[in-house]
């Protein structure tokens, strides 16, 4: 329990650090972005909106940094991430709210599946080390060296086309309206297959490799020899003794790598014009839409933190040594 509370404290601290970082980012922007925005939307901005923008960008000369910081937190607690420039005058929170589920479902589910498959194959490769499975390693290494988005481009080139089952872009058929119905869900699934496959193929080899190495390392532990000496079945030794122990560091690795993985998957969304966070991030970048970028960064960070916390929980359940003594 103590361990768990420590982790929670750490994540709160990290969230605070990320939010503070986020507060400073727009203050790094050279020049006066609000002025250029006002120019862009000649006359359409209310005084109120302009003021809120000045607060956001820290160009509000009347207030000190500390007061600005406090204001920023107040805005945040009201769920106010500012207004988007690109989709003006939509609030950033709404835009992100629309995109987030797409990303969470695509990236979240795919990453977990990739971890499970990779770990499973890694157990096999590590246990049967020295057999033909070792020959797969160079291939997996190659795939893990390919950028996610490039693999996506190749997939689109090779697998999509007028007669193909796989759509080349979007998150659902454009003739449909998002709803939980029998038309929309299959279409969404169909559209997510290729991006998911792309993420899967480029990320799975990393898990295979790390799990294999952990298996090899664990296999020479004393308790594995003991398990063999006890005459347990091969399966039990491999699964319940070796893999069960090798899994623990791999889960830690999983948690720690999430931050890396997310970056790659955003790019896959871009390539597939998948309506998630990565796609709107690209649009925000093109339009210099700082509030939207900031909001996306914040949401991604918080999501990664939550995912980390879940991985920690899993670790907690699997490793008796971190549980309360007694």
């Amino acid at each position: 329990m103590k361990y768990f509370l420590q982790r929670i404290a750490f994540y709160l601290f990290t969230a605070w650090a990320a939010i503070t970082l986020n507060f400073f980012i727009p203050r790094l922007v050279p020049g006066d972005p609000v002025q250029s925005l006002i120019a862009k939307f000649r006359g359409q901005l209310s005084t109120e909106a302009i003021n809120s923008l000045y607060v956001l960008f820290g160009l509000d000369d009347n207030k000190g940094l500390w007061a600005q910081y406090v204001d920023y937190w107040k805005q945040l607690f009201q769920g106010d991430l500012g207004l988007s420039f690109t989709f003006f005058p939509s609030p950033v929170a709404d835009i992100i709210g629309d995109a987030l589920p797409w990303t969470v479902l695509l990236v979240g589910i795919t990453t977990v599946i990739s971890f499970l498959i990779g770990t499973g194959l890694g157990v096999f490769a590590g246990w049967r080390r020295g057999s033909w499975t070792d020959g797969l390693l160079p291939v997996t290494t190659f795939f893990s060296s390919v950028p996610y988005f490039w693999l996506g481009i190749i997939a689109i080139y090779l697998l999509t086309g007028p007669d193909s089952f796989f759509p080349s872009s979007g998150g659902f058929d454009s003739s449909l309206v998002p709803a939980w119905d029998q038309y929309f869900i299959p279409s969404a699934l169909q559209h997510s297959l290729l991006p998911a496959l792309t993420i899967l193929i480029s990320s799975v080899s990393g898990w295979i490799l790390s799990m294999r190495n952990m298996m090899v390392t664990v296999s020479s532990e004393d308790y594995i020899t003991v398990a063999h000496a006890k005459g347990l079945s091969e399966r039990r030794v491999a699964v319940s003794y070796a893999a069960r122990n090798a899994l623990l560091p791999n889960i830690s690795g999983f948690a720690l790598s999430l931050g890396f993985i997310v970056g790659g998957t955003l790019l896959v969304e871009i390539v597939f014009s998948y309506p998630g966070l990565g796609f709107i991030l690209l649009q925000a970048l093109g339009a210099k839409d700082y509030p939207l970028m900031q909001g996306i960064f914040l949401v991604i960070t918080i999501s990664v933190l939550v995912a980390n916390l879940l991985a920690d929980l899993a670790y907690l359940l699997l490793d008796p040594r971190t549980r309360k003594e007694g």
């Binding site: 994540y11 601290f13 990290t14 650090a17 990320a18 980012i25 727009p26 790094l28 080390r129 020295g130 057999s131 290494t141 190659f142 893990s144 060296s145 390919v146 950028p147 996610y148 988005f149 490039w150 481009i153 990320s203 990393g206 898990w207 490799l209 790390s210 190495n213 952990m214 390392t217 296999s219 020479s220 594995i224 020899t225 063999h228 030794v237 560091p249 830690s252 690795g253 720690l256 790598s257 999430l258 931050g259 890396f260 993985i261 997310v262 970056g263 790659g264 955003l266 790019l267 871009i270 991030l281 690209l282 970048l285 970028m293 900031q294 996306i296 960064f297 991604i300 960070t301 990664v304």
Partner: protein, 356 residues
């Protein structure tokens, strides 16, 4: 993006193979250094890497065309004139790929160096000094570890408008040191508890001497592996930033080639040559670097070394495989009693089953 998974084990103290670095004896280390080059993975990786570095140096001088120069051969497939075909403006893709090698290698190595220096300073300080310093530095690296690096980089780069390669290397270096710092901290912690370090501390040896002469030599492999890992990460990051079009438009790199290919609908035109070479260039560089890292891992933790020959010939002509739990028996002279039956009453149920 690449996950530095090969070093997962190193991060978790007491768990991984690297929990106890095994190259402790200096005399032995020297002999092993040459052994390292004998490792096929290392040799292969280093040769490829060498080629890339070579092209990074001479690439811009040997390009057959000016990579920016337009021509009338628009979107031509590969030919004798244009090995990798041409772009929508008639530019030579081969020249662009060659010309683009230098910034990629430059940013990769510079960012790798920055991150490695930072991680060495932070990781070793935390591990060696312990206490409050350790808590603070560990918290700092953990924060950097869980904050998603690529989105952060994207936003910073985009704010800094037209960032130069130097600036990008700096950004990547400053945001990607945390993993290595964590690994180094764990390693330093475990080394610090070694007898000979404890002894040096007890005799009042100066801290910088202990770190410089006792710790660092033993951490070389780990630092090298971290450096290579960061180079991979930096290369992929640069490509990513270039691909979404937020780096300086001046100069080529593989990411910019892909950016133009994507922007000009190379796919829809069927111009595969426009994006395949750059992608393969990235993949081969990444593979070479990963191979070097695997070799380092195996070097540091002999358990991971591939077992070499694992199939053995027995005296009777059969083959057996080396595996944990069942030591191969090459020859045993069967005498008559060997084939005798075991009395069923003296056996456990499973044994009875097995001898049926």
């Amino acid at each position: 993006m690449t996950i530095p998974t090969s070093s997962t084990a190193q991060v978790i103290p007491g768990q991984g193979a690297m929990a106890a670095p095994e190259a402790a004896k200096p005399a032995k280390a020297k002999r092993q250094r040459f052994l390292f080059l004998k490792n096929k993975k290392a040799a292969f990786g280093l040769i490829i890497l060498g080629l890339y570095v070579l092209f990074a140096i001479i690439g811009p001088w040997i390009t057959p065309y000016d990579p920016d120069a337009r021509s009338n051969d628009l979107v031509q497939p590969p030919s004798a004139d244009h090995w990798f075909g041409t772009t929508h403006l008639g530019q030579d893709v081969f020249s662009q790929v060659l010309d683009g090698t230098r910034p990629v290698v430059f940013v990769g190595f510079l960012a790798g160096t920055i991150a490695t220096v930072l991680s060495v300073i932070i990781g070793i300080t935390a591990g060696y000094l312990g206490g409050k310093t350790d808590d603070t530095l560990s918290a700092l690296s953990n924060v950097f570890l869980v904050i998603p690096a690529i989105p952060l980089m994207i936003i910073i780069t985009s704010i800094l408008d037209n960032a130069s390669n130097l600036l990008i290397a700096l950004i990547i270096g400053l945001t990607s040191w945390s993993w290595n710092a964590r690994v180094l901290r764990a390693q330093t912690l475990s080394l610090r508890r070694r007898d000979y370090i404890e002894a040096s501390r007890a005799t009042g040896e100066k801290t910088w001497r202990i770190i410089g002469f006792e710790l660092l030599p033993n951490l070389t492999a780990v630092i090298a592996s971290g450096f290579i890992g960061t180079v991979i990460f930096a290369v992929l990051s640069l490509i990513t930033l270039a691909f979404i079009g937020i780096v300086s438009a001046a100069g080529w790199n593989w990411g910019t080639i892909l950016f133009w290919a994507q922007g000009q609908q190379a796919l829809a035109q069927g111009a595969w040559w426009w994006f395949v070479p750059a992608g393969l260039a990235i993949a081969f560089l990444g593979t070479a670097l990963s191979l070097i890292n695997f070799a380092i891992d195996e070097f540091v933790s002999p358990r991971l070394r591939s077992a070499g020959k694992t199939k053995l010939k027995t005296a009777s002509g059969g083959t057996v495989r080396m595996r944990i739990g069942f030591t191969p028996v090459l020859s045993n002279s069967p005498e008559p009693h060997t084939r005798a039956q075991i009395h069923p009453d003296a056996m456990t149920p499973v044994a009875r089953e097995a001898t049926k």
